[in-house]
Symmetry: D2
């Protein structure tokens, strides 16, 4: 059995708690959250004790910690966990401040901390299948990747204010996916963006629409299109053009009903959110965390991957600002 | 070069005329139609002379005749063509009266007339591809066939009155397709039907909705569903369940636009009519007729196929009437 | 809170146990299964006590029982539950013997037992959406229903021997769906079938391929095609032709990857089994059982529905045997 | 009746000739081509006289000329046609040399020549439907456009050498489509590209893979991905993200067969070439040319559109060379 503690009992913390509770080899010993109701909810699902951080890090029985608390607490908790010798499963990013993230990664590398970063898309069966066909050579040589990532509705402006901006908050998943699929690093980033969908986003200092072009070190081309708003809802697709195959991951429809009328055929739009779209992926993450702890099996994404994706986000910010491609 | 004459210059006759005119090896010498405007239209497309039947059958230069005139004239024209030694491409049916059709087929067989019957679906690339995968063994052993054939809108009641009824007029294409795909004969037919969509059809003595179940001699199962009305338009699909493959022919959409909104995704319904759906098939029929004349190459469907499909239509009429399966 | 007991801890029993355990308002007090390992597995998930039937029925704290034990035990347990005043959630069928099922239903009706029958498809969001569009008039008048239900692989012959045969075991879900969607009773059933896919099924006295035609009391037409084997896997679709809309429920694909090569485009086949396909439906069933207990809210399917579907299965057996349509 | 002459009897010239011949109101008086066999083939289809340019321009009966000859002859012929007062339907580009194209457009504008440029995609029903939904406000405000245009196979290197390069030869259709759909001009172009698929293309001084990002004057974002090679064949799609709708134009499949096996579902790839994909569009172009001549009705694309698209191609060339976005 693996014993873990969960920091943060909000939406994503509760999700991990549920999967941990369902997992036959994981026991949730503690939950830590300043909001009592949230902590209580996770305690009810998992049987965990509501505790503070000190108690968690002091308890030798705790093998690993899931860090799903507010973003500004990530770096501190990760480093305390590293010091206490716990395995870490941290939601992205380590820190919105790139220098802090860098410092944090250095600590983790120095201490040899087993750390898994919450790039859940890597655990999605469809994206994984695409990765496999590239890695084992079936797809052939990759030429181009086109990634679509857009949420259905503009999130609350309060969230946007603390999100780090579209590139650091949302595009980062596409930056990671590009690296994951290409299996190599990016050499240059060019980004354009604007506030086309909702002025309130602009007033909060962010953009709601963006397009990014990247070239990898060996010359492969990547296009990303992002947005905070999509009429038909949550939109996350990718297309890889390679020498043998074109690989596509489509959205997952809400149901399988097709209605035919005089006007044509209509079918369901995509599932509403990442919660539904990536249910299998989140479950697989918990299993991977268990394997990281028990067998030391490397996760699909670690803190170094987190840092590299952030590096691309920083480059995108600069590119949009300077109106030129930025070398990475 | 192949020299032909066209009997009947209505919608289907004009279609054949156009394809004949476009065909590099076919010359249309005559067009025969009591309605002068129709004959003139075909003459304009093809350069044909407007003539009467006598002149056509007397002209030794005429290699073959396309019979697309009114149904009640088919059997007579076919037999005159046979007597004159012309190759025949006749629209289905030879006659709505089964005994006449039988007599006609006997004549054709006795005289060794090269005759092609207008079961255009056999010439459609999609249905042909399915047939090929069955015939060459790729699909494996066939277990079941499910056929959908429905027109979009109730045809004019005047047409329904002279159509021979749903089974003889419309289901006949499915009877033929079942024989074509199975490669064997049907042993029993069970049909149910009713006038559910439009009372006027019932008042005209026909049904607008039907379902047919057939068992082949070797025990394979066939289901057909037919109707004179479909909300989304012209609907013609088939599904074959075999031991290695499930083969499906879907409708062809009118365009390739997809519109995504809050309500879901909508796409175009099927093309409006057999004219658009089977454009390639009709063109292939004219090529097949040319090959029948020049090389004696057997067409995909001949008069015997026409008679067998009609036999199944007669059985369906009887089955619905007697409320029991009818052995064929 | 609702307190329940679970009879039968095999595959389906364990599924219900898991959903009961996840449900915030349900507590599983007992599990009953002669196979100790099975009972222990459910006890581990749910915290239930392993008990025998006597103890369950004697415990006044038990509000309802889930009956997922072997088919031959259903009728007996249902009647004991009824006598003990427990609410019942029973997997289909009540009994493979129609007379016993009838007797059982009479008892349930006489005693006013709150009983829910496990026709899980009624709880599937896609099938439900279709039902809703019919019921609220959006779809218009229904003319035809075409149902496809086939498992991917021939089940173990030992299972086939005790299954009651294809019509009672598998087609029964389509019989139920036809009644559910039509909102009216069936007047006649015509069935054909054979052992085309695997001789071993025939040797065990069953068929592996069938087609059924039904006519409802008001003249609507239904076609069902069934099989124990489908090359591409678990296949469960429906199509409803109505005056305003054609409604279709398609299979749910395993993933959303599309691979394009020189040969064409390929995508994933359907999910492998009812477990994955109907995950949401099974969860909804447990919620419905909770609501049946706490609010007396009528389930989507009860014992009378179970009996009516069985009546159609019996008619299908007779029809195939007598080679004629059977009035119901 | 409209009397035209056709310059150039290669693949595209022959296509226009066929559609002109089929058109009820167009008569082809002359065909001009230095390759005798080509000219003869068009003469056979159309009944045209094989002539030289002098005779065509001197004949007052000629209303318009279709210019489908080699690219380097376009500008000269267009200007002679303008001088002779003929309407012009010219294949793109007016000239691969931008200055010559500019000079040519000035002449056409000064003389008020009725000129239609062969941007056939504008005449495709699917792209047109998308344009209409944008123009009439249904789609709402456009935020992003993503365009895919790739040929299936690397064209002959000899063709590549005289093609003007990927941006001027192929991307130009996407540049035009972007302007057509946005209804406004482009402000900046950023292009990256490489020779990833076939070294021979690079040796011939061209690229085979490219990605372009453009920002319109009002800040809308456009991404284009191009290539000379696609495993599944001819690939031409577009996606428009707007405030009310996401609009997509998909590829048109070769047939409608779906094959289901243990491995999944496979369906046909796209039609093989622009000839099949844009058959309807080419036919519509000929009708538009007839309307331009008889009614003076403005075509969907004229010489000014040709020049603007070329301007973007020139900017893309410069951007890729200078590795920076280029203002237009």
């Amino acid at each position: 059995m693996v014993t873990i503690a969960i920091f943060g009992a909000g939406r994503i913390g509760r999700l991990h708690a549920m999967h941990a509770a369902e997992h036959p080899r994981i026991s949730v010993a503690y939950v830590v959250d300043p909001v009592e109701a949230n902590a209580a909810a996770v305690a009810a699902i998992t049987g965990a004790i509501i505790a503070d951080a000190e108690r968690v890090f002091a308890d030798n029985a705790v093998d690993g910690v899931v860090i799903a608390s507010s973003t500004d607490s990530h770096a501190g908790l990760v480093q305390r966990a590293a010091a206490a010798g716990k395995a870490v499963f941290c939601e992205k990013p380590l820190s919105l401040d790139f220098a802090s993230a860098q410092a944090c990664v250095e600590v983790l590398n120095r201490q040899g901390t087993r750390c898994m970063l919450g790039f859940h898309r890597r655990y999605d069966p469809s994206f994984r299948a695409v990765r496999e066909r590239i890695r084992d050579g079936t797809a052939g040589v990759v030429y181009q990747i086109i990634a679509f990532s857009r949420t259905g509705a503009i999130p609350p402006i309060d969230y946007i204010r603390v999100s780090g901006g579209l590139f650091r908050d949302s595009s980062i998943h596409d930056f990671d996916m590009a690296r994951y699929l290409l299996g190599e690093e990016i050499a240059s980033v060019y980004a354009v963006g604007g506030c086309l969908a909702d002025e309130a986003v602009g007033a909060a200092g962010d953009i709601d629409t963006a397009m990014i072009t990247m070239v990898s070190r060996s010359g492969k081309l990547v296009q990303i299109n992002n947005g905070r708003y999509t009429p038909f809802g949550y939109d996350q697709r990718i297309e890889v053009l390679a020498s043998n195959e074109v690989l596509r991951v489509d959205n997952a429809p809400r149901d399988t009903v097709v209605v035919g009328t005089r006007e044509g055929l209509s079918s369901a739009g995509p599932v509403h959110s990442f919660i539904e779209r990536y249910a299998t992926a989140y479950r697989a993450e918990m299993e991977a965390f268990a394997q990281l702890i028990t067998e030391g099996k490397a996760p699909l994404a670690d803190h170094n991957d987190g840092l590299e994706a952030q590096r691309l986000a920083e480059a995108a910010v600069r590119s949009m600002c300077d109106k030129r491609p930025v070398a990475v």
